[in-house]
């Protein structure tokens, strides 16, 4: 439960960007996301999520990105949760003012 409580919230209006320290490696099931700074490896388990993450361009709000990627609205909730956990791992940054994402301290 503490994990859920500590997870940052992401708003559909937020403008997000993939961290410049992160590389995405395509895999048959989706992709590996690797953070060169904190050396965390995260597995994106759905191609649709890879598409969404790759489309975070630092200009469009998350809602627009989800729409552009044709993610059905009933599924937005699980996508925002996934995005939020990637923000917590410092994989994705929020560019929206006042929406500083919580970051785990780097361990290196």
């Amino acid at each position: 439960m503490w994990r859920l409580l500590s997870r940052p919230v992401v708003e559909l209006t937020e403008i997000l960007q993939l961290s410049p320290s992160v590389a995405l490696r395509p895999e048959p099931f989706g992709a590996l996301a690797y953070h060169f700074g904190n050396r965390r490896l995260t597995f994106l388990k759905r191609p649709e999520l890879v598409q969404v993450v790759s489309s975070l361009n630092g200009t469009d709000p998350l809602k627009d990105v989800l729409q552009k990627c044709e993610i059905p609205e009933p599924n937005w909730d699980i996508f925002t949760k996934a995005i939020a956990s990637l923000m917590k791992a410092d994989m994705i940054h929020s560019l929206s003012p006042g929406m500083t994402s919580q970051k785990e301290p780097h361990n290196d």
Binding site: A23, R39, R40, F43, R46, K81, A82, L86, N107, D108
Partner: protein
């Protein structure tokens, strides 16, 4: 081999299910840079000692690094032999890091001088793992060689004094050192290092001493209990998933990653399914042939076979099979047990009869770079290698799973 292609990768599902079908590139790649070593450890997985005359050149190593960068292999475990013996070791370290291939290297510490320690402390993206198989010289040196304990501690001291953060102390757990687990942890804490425990494998020269040195059944249980208590801050390289049959999953994948997420490149470019399986039976190809490493990884018959669904064989009816998956392929092979049967250290005791079988045949080594004096049974020599590790994969989110790569690949 055609059957290999009949199984279809599932959509979604757990990572373990996905990993069983393999990845486009390894996440845990070990690369032994040289078979040359100044030590002659009795349990050396790669039977190291003498340099192989066909060792890859600097240029060939750079080409491999270029390819790993293209394949987005973000992190490599470098071992040997003693990798720092290669005159171009420090160059290759820089080259890899400059090409976005992070390095963790295993060393016996002999060449980690204060100067090199300062260099390492100033280098981002490098991990150092010092091998030590006793918390005291009395326990360590009989296995690794006279003076090797002091050598390792000197290296750790140099690293700590240079400000190098979080070195690893890598210990192969044996019958003789298992009573020192707490002492190892204390030692690691003293150096600000992380303890890494791995399993004694009957591979390489380890085949010579495995019968005498692998933990007893009672000790295995002690190790399991200790890991449950202390495992949080200790790396294990996913070594001990055979212990999961006691009931609790061990940290890591609890899956044999050979040829699926793991492989080994040896000093002459041969590619093996895992660091513990340096034998022709598990050789997938060579990076100098055809289209290089990528082709071997993605298309070799051996690796495709390993990525096809495995049957539990004699283990199928065991209640613990889902936990331990039959254990370690290399451990079975090098003790002459069937690959689809129980692990030689099966905690349920299912391999005891097979190990006592007088007709059991231990496979002959297909390579040996030991120096003449180093073989218990008449052969060659030494160092431990890095083995990789898996992560703690939590299923908290249906779309992502995350892990610190240190725990994944060390």
């Amino acid at each position: 081999m055609t059957e290999t292609f009949t199984a279809v990768r599932p959509t979604g599902g757990t990572l373990i299910e996905q990993f069983e079908f393999g990845l486009d590139a390894p996440i845990c790649l070990t690369w032994e840079l040289t078979y040359a070593c100044n030590l002659s450890c009795n349990h050396c997985l790669s039977s190291s000692g003498r340099r192989d005359p066909n060792e890859l050149t600097t240029k060939q190593c750079e080409d491999i690094i270029d390819e790993l960068q293209r394949m987005q292999v973000f992190y490599v475990n470098i071992g040997g032999g003693e990798p720092t013996i290669r005159p171009d070791f420090w160059h290759l370290l820089d080259y890899a890091i400059a090409h976005e291939v992070g390095i963790k290297f295993s060393t016996n510490g002999s060449r980690i001088t204060p100067e090199k320690a300062r260099l390492l402390a100033a280098t981002d993206y490098v991990d150092v793992q010092v091998s030590l198989d006793g918390a005291t010289a009395q326990v360590n040196d009989p296995l690794r060689g006279e003076g090797s304990f002091d050598m390792a501690l000197k290296a750790l001291t140099n690293l700590a004094e240079a400000g190098f953060k979080d070195a690893k102390i890598s210990v192969v757990v044996t019958r003789d050192n298992i009573h020192q687990l707490d002492a190892f942890k204390t030692l690691a804490d003293q150096f600000g290092a992380t303890l890494r425990l791995t399993r004694l494998r009957p591979s390489g020269r380890g085949a010579d001493i495995w019968d005498q040195l692998h933990p007893t059944a009672k000790q295995q249980r002690e190790l399991y209990d200790w890991l449950l208590l202390n495992g949080e801050g200790v790396l294990t390289g996913d070594s001990f998933f055979h212990l999961a049959a006691y009931g609790e999953a061990m940290p890591g994948l609890n899956l044999c990653g050979a040829g699926r997420v793991v492989c080994l490149i040896d000093p002459i470019g041969d590619v093996y399914a895992c660091p513990f399986a340096i034998h022709d039976r598990f050789k997938a190809g060579n990076v100098l042939d055809g289209n290089g490493f990528q082709e071997v990884w993605q298309e070799s018959e051996l690796f495709l076979e390993l990525r096809s669904p495995q049957t539990g064989g004699a283990c199928s009816s065991c209640s613990a099979y889902d936990s331990c998956r039959g254990g370690c392929m290399a451990a079975k092979f090098f003790t002459g047990l069937p690959l689809d049967g129980p692990d030689p250290e099966c905690v349920k005791g299912h391999s005891e009869d097979a190990l006592l079988d007088p007709n059991r045949v231990i496979p002959l080594a297909s390579q040996d770079h030991s120096r003449a004096s180093a073989r218990k049974n008449g052969g060659p020599i030494p160092i431990t290698i890095s083995r990789q590790v898996p992560a703690r994969f939590c299923d908290e989110d249906p779309l992502t799973e995350s892990a610190a790569l240190n725990s994944v690949t060390t």
